[in-house]
């Protein structure tokens, strides 16, 4: 899946580590999602959407 995680993170000046801490996941998980190697679970996708105040479908696309 494609996603806007890297762009959204960059808008806020966060590092991958910063974002990982806010999502309560590891930095490697954030990196894997951003590079498209891993699709997050639904609960994590909801957490990401809530953090960035966007809808899930605005952040993730097939």
């Amino acid at each position: 899946m494609k996603n806007l995680l890297r762009e959204l993170r960059a808008e806020r000046g966060w590092s991958q580590g910063d974002l990982a801490e806010q999502l309560d996941v590891s930095r490697q998980t954030v990196n894997a999602i951003e590079t498209g190697k891993y699709d997050p679970s639904l609960p994590l996708a909801f957490t990401i959407a809530a953090l960035f105040k966007r809808r899930i479908e605005d952040i993730f696309s097939p």
Binding site: D24, V25, Q28, T29
Partner: protein
């Protein structure tokens, strides 16, 4: 941040291995009573139990990607171990295997090797 205390499984694992090799050396000595030999063979078990408890705790506190990686590593390793044992069983019937080369003492080392192979393959996919 996801809480991690990855040193406990490692320390318990090392202790388990060390006690295994101590028991192995002890059992190669002669003149030890059978009861003591059995005790020596079982000494690594409590350390294995500690390793298992810490490893499972670590796994439960890991985030979803790490759990996926560990799951895929085991999904690769478990069938490899199974096919290895089944093949050795058939080879034993086919040609006979030398006990000094293919006993449990020699074959067990492939089990962690297969797990590490699985871990390498799974990590490469996601990280």
């Amino acid at each position: 941040m996801v809480p991690r205390n990855s040193s406990r499984p490692l320390i318990a694992g090392v202790l388990w291995l060390v006690t295994f090799f101590i028991a192995r050396v002890a059992l190669e000595a002669t003149g030890i009573a059978p009861g003591l030999r059995i005790t020596a063979a079982l000494i690594p078990l409590p350390f294995f139990a500690a390793f298992l408890v810490f490893f499972i705790r670590e796994l439960r506190s890991a985030d979803e990607l790490e759990r996926r990686i560990q799951g895929e590593a085991l999904a690769i390793a478990y069938p490899l171990v199974l096919v290895m044992l089944m093949t050795l069983a058939l080879m034993e019937r086919a040609v006979g295997l030398k006990f000094e080369d293919w006993s449990y003492m020699h074959v067990w080392v492939y089990v962690p090797i297969f797990y590490l192979m699985g871990l390498f393959i799974a990590r490469r996919r996601y990280v």
